[in-house]
Structure formats: C-alpha cells, structure tokens
C-alpha cells in the first residue's frame, strides 16, 4: 500500500527519535551503565597519599561503621577526590563527631555507594552531577578529621555499611600500611 507523505515523514521521525534521543543530553555516563552490578575499586579520597596522617576513630565496627582519619596540617594538598566514578546523590551536614562540615554521597554502581564526611568547600558541584574517579570534589581543612564510609547492597536488601578495606585499590591500601587489619576492620 502506498504511504502518504505525512506517513513517510512520521515513520522517518520515529527512526530519528531513537537516533536523536540516543545522542542527546549532557550525560557522560548512561544511567544504566552506572546501575551495573559491579563493585568498583576505590581509590584514595585525598589527592595526596600523605594527607592522611593517622587513624583516629578506631576500627570499623557495627557501632562505628566508617573510618575516620586525621589529616595533615601542612605540606599536602587539601583536596578530597572521588574514590570512583559516580553520581552525587546527596550533600548534607556531617553527623560524625569531629568530622565537621558536610558529607557527600556518591552512587558508584547498582551495588555500591560511598560517603565522605568532613567536607568543606564543595567545588562547584551539585546534587545530580556525575564525577570521575579521582576528580576533586571538595576540600578539607588541614588538620581536620575526615570520615569515609562504604555502603554495599547485595541486591536483596538495602545498602549496609561494610568495612572499606577489601574494596580499596592497591595504592590506597598501601597508604594505610601503618595500620594492621584488626585496626581497620572488625
């Protein structure tokens, strides 16, 4: 059957919709790529490995399901970096004792998100923005306390805090070499 002109135009636009929509948007990652089942390797949250001077809070435990670090007073860049690529899901007021300022929640995959506490001067980023691994997201006051939490969802239940150690990159683990495993995770 012969198609009218407007019908040909309509079908052509149907095809162009898929092509056009596929290329539209300011996204640098497909949301469905972000929601994969992967558990990304987490890099250091500080731009300089020496910026973490000592471990303050005690081991990761059920009572304190996060790590807390002292940061160096001087000699190191006071930038906080995204441990892995992801989307900023939340910015709020930090509720970890000593880690004053804000916290940032990053969704890294369909299974993992991280929170960084004690954040100051969030660098022009907003909730909903996508960041790359290693991208500077904020700063900390030199000598301040910074907290780090990893939350993992097994796909059945909601996310629960887990000890970050097994998810860290080799370099990040090596930067914590002065601590024993029992000092870091319980």
């Amino acid at each position: 059957m012969k198609m009218l002109l407007k019908q040909k135009v309509f079908f052509g636009l149907i095809l162009s919709l898929g092509l056009g929509v596929g290329g539209c948007g300011n996204v640098s990652v497909d949301p469905l790529e972000l929601m994969s089942n992967s558990t990304p390797v987490l890099n250091s949250i500080t731009a300089s490995s020496g910026a973490i001077s000592s471990y303050v809070q005690g081991t990761f435990s059920q009572a304190t399901p996060y790590w807390v670090f002292n940061t160096s007073f001087s000699g190191f860049a006071n930038n906080l970096t995204a441990p892995a690529s992801g989307q900023i899901a939340e910015i709020g007021v930090s509720n970890i004792t000593g880690a004053n300022g804000y916290y940032v929640t990053l969704i890294h995959s369909g299974r993992m998100e991280t929170k960084i506490f004690g954040v100051q001067n969030i660098t022009g980023l907003k909730v909903g923005d996508y960041v790359l691994a290693g991208q500077v997201i904020a700063q900390f006051y030199p000598g301040s306390i910074v907290g780090f939490q990893v939350l993992y969802s097994d796909g059945t239940n909601g996310p629960v805090p887990v000890c970050p150690f097994s998810y860290l990159s080799t370099a990040f683990r090596q930067s914590l070499y002065t601590y024993t495993s029992s000092q870091l995770c319980q």
């Binding site: 919709l17 539209c24 948007g25 899901a89 939340e90 299974r111």
Partner: protein, 182 residues
C-alpha cells in the same frame, strides 16, 4: 545539550501536530493506563518497582485497514536499592500496531508491536542537574481488551519493553487501562 533536547521535542511536536489538527477520523480512540513495571535481567536485583502511567492514541490505520496503529508515551520509575531516595525514570515513546483476535463477543486478545525511543535518567532528591540518556525502544504488548460499551473498553496488558543504548535493560509491565473512542 539541553538545546538539542528542546530541539528534539520541537521536532517531535511537528508530526504529532500533523495528526492532532482537525481531521475527520484522524484518531480513533485514546487509552489511559496505570502501570507497574518489573525490571528483568542482570540489573533486576538493583531496582524496586514504582507505579507509572501511560497514554496511547490510536489513529488512522497506516498500512492495513484492519490493523489499528498507535503512538504511546509512558512514564516508568524504578527505585534504586543502593539508594532508596534515588530512582531511575524512563519515558518511552513508541509507535506500533495492534493485532486483534476475538475470544468471544466483547472480549478480544490484542498483541501490539512497537518501536521508538526513550529518555532515561537517575533522579535524586534536590537535584539541579539531570544526566539524561537516550535509548532505542522495542516493545511487544500482549493482552486483553473488553468492550464494556460501544465507546468504552477496558484493557489489561503486559508490555515487554527493551531499552537499548550504551547499556541496556528490559522490563515487564503490568498494565490496566481504559480506552475511549473519539
């Protein structure tokens, strides 16, 4: 890129406008639906379902007089298990055809097949930016339609929607609707 999105919407307004302009028998009927999507595949465990809605316009039969054609738009949402405040939202727009078969006097089976596109993004509370991504959409839509009166039908369908872009996802939707003749 927001300008490109606006341009795409404008471009899409043109053909929709062509069919909306007053014309005898331009549209046969309109359907409004309530939807409950369930994610399938390897990503299914990462999502909880939220209720959604949809609408379809049935119009002049393009290729075969006995086969109704439709354009439909939907809104589906999946809460993220990793962050319950966030959700993956998708708006599929498809054009397709409905193949009908009679069960008995007022009840018939319907099988729709459609293709189109979709926009999806992850929505988080208080977000001021939205990283939207586009997908090709393929959809089959089997179901039942009951003619409650000459002008009014009730539909129950289970569309299977496949989103294909840089990544892909498929989901099955439980859909109940009301269809009214124009």
């Amino acid at each position: 890129m927001k300008k490109l999105q606006r341009l795409a919407l404008l471009v899409w307004a043109l053909p929709i406008g062509l069919f909306v302009t007053p014309s005898a028998h331009a549209f046969e009927s309109v359907e409004v639906t309530g939807q409950y999507p369930v994610a399938l595949g390897d990503k299914a465990q990462n999502f909880n379902s939220n209720f959604g809605v949809g609408a379809a316009l049935y119009f002049d039969r393009l290729l075969d007089p006995s086969v109704p054609n439709y354009v439909s738009i939907g809104y589906n949402s999946f809460a993220l298990k990793v962050n319950s405040d966030a959700a993956f939202r998708v708006f599929p727009i498809v054009i397709g055809a409905d193949f009908e078969g009679k069960v008995f006097s007022d009840l018939k089976t319907v099988f729709g097949a459609a293709v189109g596109g979709a926009i999806g993004y992850i929505a988080v509370p208080n977000a001021t930016t939205y990283n939207m991504s586009g997908y090709f959409v393929g959809q089959i839509k089997p179901g039942l339609e009951y003619d409650a009166s000459d002008d009014f039908s009730i539909t129950a369908r289970m569309p299977l929607t496949i989103l294909a872009g840089k990544a892909s996802m498929s989901y099955l939707t439980y859909q109940i609707g009301v269809k009214m003749k124009l």
